[in-house]
Structure formats: structure tokens, C-alpha cells
């Protein structure tokens, strides 16, 4: 069956990742597709769509334009729309068809910028890769284009990197994470990229340290470290002890000017817990559980990025659904912590499923049920996961 998924839906693609990263800006987004990718993004990948105003246009590619490689109509209509809407910047995004015919999104953006005087960015999104690539490239591109490297340093300040509703939903996680960091005596310069504006982005080089919340923030953290010497800490504040550990790492990183990456460990034993999701969030859940005294083996797995440098030896990179089924059948796990749609997999029947919605898997079906990672619901989830199902749970 190769890569065919029988039980799980297709995951969110890179173009939706870029769109979600641009959502909070006064940005004109032009998605160069026939219409289906735009519909995917609006209907299934953007929890904020019905609540906020944004401008995402579908280029509505047609056969002859594709066969002839004629992108002049898209450029002209983008210019027309930009003149009417007066956005702060414009983004042109690709989809599978432009990717196949080699439509040059960056070149088109250069032409649009030259003709309108409005900054324009081109993203060679393809739909062939996952959301993480899209969010990650959007963060890096926006930083390169709009940040001011000469911003004076702001003492005890942090950028939060990798905030995306595709991992965190739109239930208030951005505010909650900001509050945790501020309560520890830091100021937040920029949330990359939820609830921030161009001014925050411009000032982001002034931060003393970056906190990488999800894997989508990692590329930007590395770029900012290389270009500006800003160190980073990896970890989502989850649970009291893990949150304190993250804060301690921020303090240490700021003091020493060196990035801090918490170690990842699997413990030996039976009745393991398999966590499925974004690697950095899943690692943080594991660290939180271990800090709470969890002794069962905890293995992180992901259909998305799984950086070897951040992985414990037994962690599993899932290329396809069949890899997950193999892991579920291995007898190593009695509990799975992951998206509620995992219950569709027959091999889950004998295992306990602790639901943690991941919008890139179940989309609108469960995105309102994403917990506040810093809150009570997450704490309850940790207590449920700490012991195997038959041993009873902590209260």
C-alpha cells in the first residue's frame, strides 16, 4: 500500500503553513492554484478564518495558462488587488501545479514589487511537503525581510518561535505562553507568528534569547543565532516542573549566551506511552512527565520533522501510516497520546488513547478542543498519561 493512508486524512500542506503564519498581518496572499488548495486552507486548515479579517485570493489557474506558462494575468490581478486593498505586503504562493511547471513565485513577487512599490514575497510552496516546511520558511522569510538587525538589545527579552494554530489551535495558547514568560520576568518582543505585527517583527533582533515552542521555529532560531548571535532554548512550558525547567534554561542561556537544548531520554520497561505530534511539543510533554516522576517508557513519534539531534534513541520517524500501525502492533505501548482521529486505526482498539488534538491531522473536527498547554487541562492530561491504564491515574 506504500504511502496510502487508510484511516487518517491527508495532513496539512506547506501552503497552509505559510498562510497561517501570515494571517495576522495586513497582507495580501495570492495562492496560485486552481482553487482546491485555497479551499483546503480556508475550510480545513485555518481555525481563525471565521473570526478575523484576512485577504487570501485564489489565482484560479486554468489549463491554457498552465500549458503556456502564462503568469501575466495573475501578476496583473495581484497588482490590481494590491492597489485596491493597500496591504503592508504581498505574498505569492505556489501549489502542486505551479511546482510542476516551474512557475517562479519569487520572480513573480519581484515583478509585483517593482510595479507596485509594495514589498512582495514569493514562496515556492508545492503541497508536496507538510505544513511545518511552510510555517518554517514563512518565519525565516519574514524575519529576513522585515526585521531590523540594528535594533538595540532589550534586556531580559524573549521571542517565541514557532507559534502556529496548526499545532496550538486558536484557543489562547499564544497569550498563555506569553503570560508564562512574562510572569518569569521576561518581556516578549515578538510571537513568531501569532498575535504579532510588523513592528514586533522589526524589533525581534533586540531579544536576548529565543524560545522555540514547536519544530516550525527551529530554522529561524538557528538563523538568528548564526546571523545575530541570539541563543535559543528549545521547549514548550508544560506542567509546573517542566515550565520551571524551561524558565531556568532561558535564564542560563541569557546569562551564558549559549543555546540550551534539553536532553531527550527513553526509559526502559513495558507499557510504554507513545506520543504522536510535533517533535518539540511531544518532547516537552515527555520531559514534563519525567519531571513528574513518570517511570514508564515514553517514545516520541511524528509524521513531520523528527530531528535526530533532538530525538531519544527509541523515537520513531513515521514516513507513512503503516509505520504507525507497526509501532502500535509492536507490543511496546499500552497508551497513545495524540490526535483523536487515531481511534480510527483498528490497532488502537486494545490501547488507551489520550486525545490531544493536532489541527494538521483532524482540522476543524477537533481544533476547538486543543488544550491550553500551560493550563489545567494539560495538567490533567499529564496525570492521565503518567501511569499505564490499569495502574490507575494520578488525580
Amino acid at each position: 500500500m506504500g504511502r496510502l493512508s487508510i484511516y487518517l486524512p491527508p495532513f496539512t500542506g506547506d501552503y497552509s503553513g505559510v498562510c497561517s503564519a501570515l494571517f495576522d498581518f495586513n497582507c495580501l496572499i495570492v495562492l496560485c492554484d486552481a482553487s482546491c488548495c485555497t479551499k483546503n486552507y480556508i475550510n480545513y486548515d485555518e481555525p481563525r478564518w471565521s473570526r478575523n479579517k484576512t485577504t487570501t485570493l485564489c489565482a484560479q489557474l486554468r489549463t491554457m495558462e498552465v500549458a503556456l506558462g502564462d503568469d501575466s494575468r495573475i501578476i496583473n490581478q495581484t497588482i490590481e488587488a494590491a492597489q485596491a486593498l493597500k496591504p503592508d505586503f504581498i505574498a505569492l504562493l505556489g501549489s502542486p501545479v505551479p511546482a510542476i511547471i516551474g512557475m517562479d513565485m519569487k520572480g513573480m513577487a519581484r515583478e509585483v514589487e517593482e510595479r507596485t512599490g509594495i514589498p512582495a514575497l514569493g514562496f515556492d510552496t508545492t503541497g508536496f511537503v507538510n505544513y511545518h516546511r511552510g510555517v518554517s520558511s514563512a518565519l525565516v522569510e519574514l524575519f529576513r525581510r522585515f526585521s531590523d538587525p540594528h535594533t538595540p538589545k532589550i534586556p531580559r527579552s524573549v521571542n517565541l518561535l514557532g507559534l502556529t494554530p496548526l499545532d496550538l489551535g486558536a484557543v489562547g495558547n499564544a497569550d498563555a505562553l506569553r503570560a508564562v514568560v512574562e510572569d518569569a520576568g521576561f518581556s516578549v518582543v515578538c510571537n513568531f507568528l501569532m498575535d504579532s505585527d510588523l513592528e514586533d517583527l522589526c524589533q525581534s533582533p533586540g531579544a536576548s534569547v529565543n524560545l522555540v515552542i514547536t519544530s516550525s521555529g527551529l530554522a529561524l532560531a538557528r538563523e538568528m543565532e548564526e546571523a545575530l548571535g541570539i541563543p535559543y532554548v528549545i521547549g514548550m512550558p508544560i506542567g509546573t516542573k517542566q515550565t520551571q525547567a524551561v524558565i531556568d534554561l532561558l535564564e542560563e542561556s541569557m546569562k551564558k549566551g549559549i543555546s540550551q537544548i534539553p536532553s531527550a531520554n527513553n526509559q526502559e520497561g513495558n507499557e510504554g506511552l507513545l506520543i504522536l505530534g510535533d517533535q518539540i511539543i511531544a518532547n516537552s510533554i515527555r520531559n514534563a512527565l519525567q519531571a513528574m516522576g513518570c517511570t514508564r517508557p515514553v517514545v516520541v513519534s511524528s509524521f513531520f520533522e523528527l530531528e535526530p539531534a533532538l530525538s531519544a534513541p527509541a523515537d520513531i520517524r513515521l514516513e507513512k501510516e503503516a509505520d504507525l500501525i507497526r509501532a502500535l502492533q509492536s507490543g511496546s505501548f499500552s497508551t497513545v497520546l495524540g490526535d483523536p482521529l487515531l481511534h480510527r486505526i483498528p490497532q488502537m482498539a486494545s490501547l488507551e488513547l489520550i486525545p490531544l488534538p493536532h489541527p494538521v491531522i483532524s482540522g476543524r473536527l477537533h481544533w476547538d478542543e486543543v488544550p491550553l498547554f500551560t493550563g489545567e487541562d494539560m495538567q490533567k492530561l499529564l496525570h492521565r498519561a503518567i501511569n499505564p491504564p490499569h495502574q490507575g491515574k494520578e488525580k
Binding site: 506558462g69 511546482a99 510542476i100 511547471i101 516551474g102 512557475m103 517562479d104 519569487k106 520572480g107 513573480m108 519581484r110 515583478e111 517593482e114
Partner: protein, 251 residues
């Protein structure tokens, strides 16, 4: 890093010219990377003793993770050889193949890690679609040279390429550096190509005579510069290398 794309009609001698250019540049102490952008994957054959090297697409087709060491073959002159490769003949999309190969090189940080002084893209035939225009993009090349003879079809292809480069200018693409005349000994050859240059713009930057040493070297699986370093033809390629650097430098 100088990034140069070499275009021209199929069979006109682009790969021969590019490989000799690479070797001549390497002789000057420059670190050169030559990337063959043709599904036939034969751009670097005279740099690799006539042996085929695994292409980027072959390795991607195999699946699993890919390392730069597998993709990049360093020859005896120190030239870094890469072949993009292509789909099985008759199916797939060769243009998308080129794009995928380029993306793979970027993902693996090939340019940052090998730090070549000069990257040469040897691109198949004409600019037939978006994929084959990829080496023209500003992210990849700074300058484009077109190899042509005085034959009509070769000049026709050259004119099309120059037009494409011109029309992509506003998108920040590579600029046109000039024509490399690779003689086929047709009548009034130089005058024919001069007329082309006059009509389409640009200059002839080098005039390479027809030489049996080219075929002899190819039979040995080598470049002329390597096989017959003392020959007049090798000197022509060395002059080409100097001229290319001069045109690149003078903007």
C-alpha cells in the same frame, strides 16, 4: 561565488565546453562545481574518466536519506561533479526533475558546505519549460553564456535563449554574458554568429575552433585540458576561462 549557466542547442558541445572550462578554471586554483542539468546525465562524463556517476534523481528514487558525499563526485582535477538526472524516458517531467534536484542540493546546503568559487550549470538544449529555466533564476545564476555554432538551428536556439534571458530580466534573473562560438566549420561561420549578436544583442566572447583533439580526449574519457594540456585547443579553453572570469567581473 560565481554562478554561471551555460545554455545552447542540444549536441552543440555545451558539455564538452563546460567540462573543459571547469578544468581550466580548476587549473587556476579555483574550486569549481559543475552541475549537469540534462536527464541524459552525461554532462560530466569527461570529468569522470567516462564513467557515469549516480544522479540526484537516481538517489532520490532509491529512497531513504541522502548525503552530499553520494551526490557530489570530486574528480582528479578537484572539480566537484553533480548530475541532476531525470525521469524514466517517456514518463514523468524532466523540468520538475531539475527543480527537485536543485531543491535537494539547497536542502543539503551543498553550496555552503563545498564553498565552490565557481558553479557551472550545463543545461539541456533550449529553455523548453519552467524547470529548464530554473538555472536562469537569480537564486541560482548570475550570468548566462550561450554556446552556438554558425548552423541555423543552433543560432535559432541561441536567439530563443537570449530572448528568454531578456524577458526574465525584470524578475532579477541572470544577465546575458555572451556567445561562445563552437565552430562546426560552416561557411562564413564567424560572420553568421556576429550577425546573430547584432540582431539579438551580446558579444562573441570566445571562438573555439573545430579540433580532432576534442574527440580524441572524449574517447579517453577526459577533457582536452587534461588529456592534451600542451595542445592549442587546451589553450583555447584556458583563454575561454580567462574571458569568462573577465566578463563576470566586469558586470
Amino acid at each position: 561565488m560565481l554562478r554561471i549557466a551555460i545554455y545552447g542547442k542540444g549536441g552543440i558541445g555545451k558539455s564538452t565546453t563546460t567540462s573543459n572550462l571547469s578544468t581550466a578554471l580548476a587549473e587556476q586554483g579555483l574550486r569549481v562545481m559543475q552541475i549537469g542539468c540534462d536527464p541524459k546525465a552525461d554532462s560530466t562524463r569527461t570529468l569522470t574518466n567516462g564513467q557515469s556517476i549516480p544522479t540526484v534523481l537516481d538517489l532520490l528514487r532509491r529512497g531513504g536519506s541522502l548525503t552530499l558525499e553520494e551526490l557530489v563526485y570530486t574528480n582528479s582535477s578537484g572539480v566537484l561533479c553533480v548530475e541532476a538526472g531525470g525521469p524514466t524516458p517517456g514518463i514523468g517531467c524532466a523540468g520538475r526533475g531539475i527543480i527537485t534536484a536543485f531543491e535537494q542540493l539547497q536542502d543539503l546546503n551543498a553550496y555552503k558546505i563545498y564553498k565552490p568559487d565557481v558553479v557551472l550549470y550545463d543545461v539541456l538544449g533550449d529553455v523548453v519549460c519552467g524547470g529548464f529555466a530554473m538555472p536562469l533564476r537569480g537564486e541560482y545564476s548570475d550570468i548566462v553564456f550561450v554556446v552556438t555554432s554558425g548552423e541555423m538551428m543552433s543560432m535559432y536556439a541561441a536567439a530563443n535563449i537570449v530572448k528568454a534571458v531578456e524577458s526574465f530580466k525584470k524578475r532579477g534573473y541572470a544577465r546575458f554574458g555572451g556567445y561562445i562560438l563552437n565552430r562546426r566549420n560552416v561557411e562564413n561561420e564567424r560572420a553568421q554568429v556576429e550577425r546573430l549578436a547584432e540582431e539579438e544583442g551580446g558579444k562573441i566572447i570566445a571562438d573555439l575552433p573545430r579540433s580532432s583533439e576534442v574527440q580524441q580526449a572524449e574517447a579517453l574519457g577526459k577533457t582536452v585540458v587534461e588529456a592534451f594540456p600542451e595542445s592549442k585547443m587546451a589553450e583555447h579553453y584556458r583563454s575561454l576561462a580567462h574571458k569568462v572570469l573577465e566578463v563576470c567581473k566586469n558586470g
